[in-house]
Amino acid sequence: MSAGFRAVQWNNHKRVYDLALLVGILLYLTSFSLLAPRLMPSDHPVTPEILRTRALGSCGLLMLTLILAIGPLARLDRRFLPLLYNRRHFGVATCLVGLAHAWSAIDWYHGDGKLPPLVSVLASNPNYGRFLGFPFEALGLAALAILIVMAVTSHDFWLAFLTPPVWKAIHMGVYAAFGLLVLHVALGVMQAERSPIVPILLGGAVVLVASLHVLAARREWAIDEGSSATDATGWLRVGRAEELRASLPDGRARIVVPPAGERIAVFRNGATLSALVNVCAHQNGPLGEGRIIDGCVTCPWHGFQFRPEDGCAPAPFTDKIATYRLKQEAGIVLVDPRPLPPGTRVEPLDLGASHG
């Protein structure tokens, strides 16, 4: 979290992460170049340029698969959250590997023709109406275009400039890029080579990404199925004050699910409770799965902070999120599901008090 914008926000953790990423990419490329000719004998002569192209392409697809696995893994197990924190650098690195793959392929297959290389890629195979024989190169270029847009707009400056909903919608394009790349490989190298390794690895990537997302989605749906009980005035039950005092750890939240609208995170801050929307203003992170650090609710995804009593980020930051009214009746803590305007101060509810 920062008040201004820097080109790249590095700290020691990110330097180590990026170094590990670079070493991992180099190790993969070296291993692929050494092992692929033995493990995946080709029906055709494989030149060093083709091997280089395949090493870069498979590296890019592997990286994209891992990126898509991080989100649901972090939903399923908190231990994966540090990977989510650094996912942006992973994405930019994937785009660079994809660009290197595209350059390698275009230079080798289309570099010496009469047409300009990019035109040659798109025009030399006109079978756009066929499934098998489809110019799979165009699919790869489309995926690369999406990755480039995402990498260019990955900075928080663009998040603030475009607004979080628009930015998030653009970056959901990563799923389209993954689908295009799967088809790029399925209609490209998988058709050219008879080795079972390509379909096994490609199918494994699809199954891994799809099943992790379905598992994470089922967990979310299970939470939403159990809408919290309401009283006669439509307020939602959070729990018995006595039970909250005993079972809700200090600095943590209980998630309340209204029938409509966003989930509500009711945080315990010492002897008081405050309710905030469960959606972080930064990237829609699940605030209720974070905790209170230095008096501020801290998002588990990227560490954005908000004061529990008014939903405002501490100075000099200006982000605000919606707050909710709380009350206690007959020992039951209730929350009004109607959100107050972002940044509205609500007096924290004393867990010991009993009033209407």
Binding site: Y109, M190, A192, G203, A210, V214, R263, P286
Partner: protein, 47 residues
């Protein structure tokens, strides 16, 4: 995290993987016999 408020938001996440998996399986099953020469990777290319 935002809740998926529209029904298609939920459905799309089931439909898309099925479509992608179907396309992958179709490409796998319909694979032609081993190609001669350099195969489709250089079809239409200058080289």
């Amino acid at each position: 995290m935002r809740r998926p408020h529209r029904r298609w938001h939920r459905r799309i996440w089931l439909v898309l993987p099925v479509l992608l998996g179907g396309a992958f399986l179709a490409a796998l099953v319909l694979r032609p016999a081993p190609p001669i020469g350099d195969g489709p990777l250089v079809s239409g290319a200058a080289r």
